[in-house]
Amino acid sequence: MSAGQLPRWVDLGLIPFLNLAAAFLVSGLVVVLIGENPLDAVKILVWGSLGYGEGIGFTLFYATNFIFTGLAVAVAFHAGLFNIGGEGQAYIGGLGVAFACLALDHYVPWYVTLPFAILGSAAAGAAWALIPGWLQATRGSHVVITTIMFNFIAASLMGYLLNNMLKEQGSMQTETRTFEAGGRLPLLNDLFPSFGFGYSPVNLSLFIALAACVLVWLLIWRTRLGFEIRSFGANASAAVYAGISPVRTIIVTMLISGGLAGMMAINEIMGSQHRLLLDFVTGYGFVGIAVALMGRAHPVGIALAAILFGMLYQGGAELSFEMPNITRDMIIVIQGLVILFAGALEYMFRPAIVRLFTPAQRLNPKEA
């Protein structure tokens, strides 16, 4: 029995909006409990993230990361796979970016380095997802378990590599040397000075992320591979019946998913840090899960959800600065509530809305 079909604007607009409203309402109550004025808090959060050029810049910078990790989770979702290894895949993706930049930055301008950095990050991220994907496809080891284990392996591996191989000689910092201009993406503030992005790190990667949204949309809904991925995710036995190989589908999907997660490193490493360093992913991989859930695994939804989470990151930082009672942890509580209402409680409002939008007298007898 299907839940009944809702108008698209209700399904894609009203329900997420209600979920979000509920999340903010509960967050507001928490703020009241702490003893602050929730309206003031909202004002600071919104102004901090959207009120001025530099704030917008930071919001978009964070959003860029979330788009990549969100798309990574979403592509896997469509195949019924829960890739929670975005964290590790993005971390290893940093290796690919760093190798391209370290190798080329002395000799060529950034736009020559960029394609190599994209390929390198995607290949490294994909490689990190390959083993969990292969294990799932051939041995049935659940990707949720293996990808999260690979997050830890990635952390240890990167620690080892940075400490013992990639660190500059004689330096105490566990990081590579800083890239030259040939390994740095232009900041949007330099490209579009009139927007006044100020010192924010938002850079060209934003457009790469948006292009990835379009490509993922095309992949999922307009290609045969996407059809096979969705078929497998929606009904694995029907996919086998249709001659779709589960092994191939799982592995290819995990490669694409890992590749997208890996590309997040372009924004962080080539766009902002200009060097490979320890722990640069700091949770973006995990938040990508929430972004994908909230964006309902659709690129447009993911872009919007990524901006929302970018706002929470940036506005939240401002908020904890302006209202010392509200710590960064509080922001994590709000994020948690958004995830709770948008993901876990996604169906809370749905039945009532279905009743509201479907005329009751329409008889539709099927397998009751």
Partner: protein, 518 residues
């Protein structure tokens, strides 16, 4: 008889979202009678029984048990009121003994021993009273389905059920086992129990019940004394118009074999041989039916031939090309390339992706066809055009290719699958349970379409557990029992004869087997 009815339902209503599954249902079930409830899939029979057994709560309406208004909040309450249910899918623990299963949930105390001893005595009494003989110490997994069902009945009686609900009880039984079940029901009736028999099979209603109520689209449309009605009348009441119960067809004119299966053996994931050294052929222009009780290897046979499952050994020759069915690289796409279509037994599990739109389902399995691609992308316009053409030709309703297939009725879903497989012009079509859960109107259409395909000179292999369907459509019938083909009969096979074969009774008519099967 004018005593208080065992069960009385008054104006029962139940909706699931926009679906009104039960509309103002009235039902009176006399004590000590066998009352049949018949209707197509989705007519609301199961919903109604679930309300009576406490799985669902009615939106409004009254339930009276022995004249008293009751509210049944869960199955425990139903059992307390003396209502027992034998589910379509048995609720038994396979590696428990009969005794343990009977006691399960009614242990009486923390320590098992006392309860088990009491149950053993009680089972003995029930056995004698109702002629329900089962070894109390046998493990469920060692019992044939017919006996497992008997354990379900014993479970209900052990809980002192006065009213017994049986939901599609014969789906898994051989005709002989079904007859035996009806005898048991007769005994129960004579002992004063009341039986509610839910089924969509007209023959069973005529054979076993005293009274029959017909449901259609969530409404109770009629109640008849069984002896005063006929199959034709009931069919008409179920569908709402008169229907043809038989298939009109000319005798087959078979030509050369298009599909030859040789020494096929299939082992399932538990290591059990489910298809044992099976050989047969299908010729162009004939329908070969595979009869058998569900679970005797037919499903695995179909899945192996269609490339979904790997054989242990055996080959298949299709259009003169020999294929090793145990080759590990083989998949369903290869078989489609060999011009073999496949209508799978379970359209929900395999044939359709119900969260996909109709047009997407209309190319499932054929999505690699270059006709549906434009460069790197899929050619949605071409796909939709094809879907619309199939919708028109097969009268699929509603005619909207963008609608998810979950929102089509069973018959229309089946037509979507059938259209997809037949319109690719296969040389061989494998068909499993083509009319399971399909309304009678669509059954007529589907049967006609299959016969048409046969008349175009294609070979059709039909697997069905509905003996009536096998007999109506097949030009040759092969009977499968325990993974083997145990007999072959011609187009006019008798039901009793097939029934014996299906039950594994040795075939003495060996000549037919050697004559036609390879």
């Amino acid at each position: 008889m004018s005593e208080t009815p065992a069960i009385e339902l008054r104006k029962i209503n139940k909706s699931f979202g926009p679906v009104h599954a039960n509309k103002d249902i009235d039902l009176v079930v006399k004590k000590g009678s066998i009352h049949g409830i018949i209707g197509e899939n989705g007519a609301g029979k199961s919903t109604l029984m679930s309300i009576l057994y406490g799985f669902y709560q009615a939106d409004d309406g009254d339930i009276l048990v022995r004249g008293e208004k009751v509210s049944i909040s869960d199955s425990k309450a139903a059992i307390g009121l003396g209502i027992g249910m034998v589910h379509q899918h048995f609720m038994l623990v396979d590696n428990f003994s009969v005794l343990e299963n009977v006691v399960l949930g009614a242990e009486d105390s923390q320590l098992l021993a006392g309860g088990l001893a009491r149950a053993r005595t009680e089972l003995k009494r029930l056995e004698e009273e109702y002629e329900l003989r089962v070894d109390p110490d046998a493990l469920i997994q060692d019992l044939p389905v017919g006996l497992q069902q008997r354990v379900e009945i014993l479970k209900a009686l052990y809980r002192s059920a006065e009213v017994l609900i049986l939901d599609e009880p014969t789906g898994v039984l051989t005709p002989a086992e079904a007859d035996h079940l009806f005898k048991i029901l007769e005994v129960l009736k004579n002992e004063g129990k009341t039986v509610l028999l839910i089924t969509h099979k007209l023959r069973e209603i005529m054979a076993a019940t005293d009274t029959v109520s017909v449901m259609r689209r969530g409404e109770m449309v009629a109640t008849r004394e069984t002896k005063n009605t006929s199959m034709e009348e009931l069919a008409e009441l179920m569908v709402g118009r008169s229907v043809l119960l038989r298939v009109d067809k000319q005798p087959a004119e078979p030509k050369a074999p298009v599909l030859e299966v040789d020494n096929l053996t299939v082992t399932d994931s538990r290591g059990v041989q489910v298809v044992k050294d099976v050989s047969f052929n299908v010729r162009a222009g004939e329908i070969v039916g595979i009869a058998g009780v569900s679970g005797n290897g037919q499903s695995e046979l179909l899945e192996t031939l269609s490339g979904i499952r790997r054989a242990t050994s055996g080959t298949m020759k299709i259009n003169g090309e020999t294929i090793d069915l145990s080759a590990s690289a083989l998949d369903a796409a290869d078989m489609r390339d060999k011009n073999m279509g496949h209508v799978p037994e379970d359209r929900h599990r395999m044939g359709l992706i119900n969260s996909f739109a109709e047009y997407e389902n209309s190319i499932l399995g054929y999505h690699r066809d270059p006709a549906y691609s434009k460069g790197l992308l899929m050619d949605l316009a071409a796909i939709k055009k094809n879907a619309v053409a199939e919708i028109e030709k097969y009268d699929i309703r509603p005619p909207s290719p963008m609608l998810k297939t979950a929102n089509f009725s069973g018959g229309n879903q089946q037509k979507i699958v059938l259209a997809r497989e037949i319109e690719r012009d296969p040389e061989v079509l494998l068909v499993g349970q083509p009319t399971r859960g399909v309304d009678i109107g669509a059954i007529e259409f589907i049967h006609r379409r299959l016969v048409e395909l046969r008349d175009q000179g294609k070979g059709i292999l039909l697997v069905s557990v509905e003996l009536d369907e096998i007999r109506a459509l097949s030009d040759r019938v092969l009977v499968m029992f325990d993974g083997r083909i145990v007999g072959e009969r011609g187009a006019n096979a008798e039901e009793g004869d097939l029934g014996l074969l299906m039950a594994g009774v040795e075939d003495n008519n060996t000549q037919a087997v050697q004559g036609d099967a390879r």
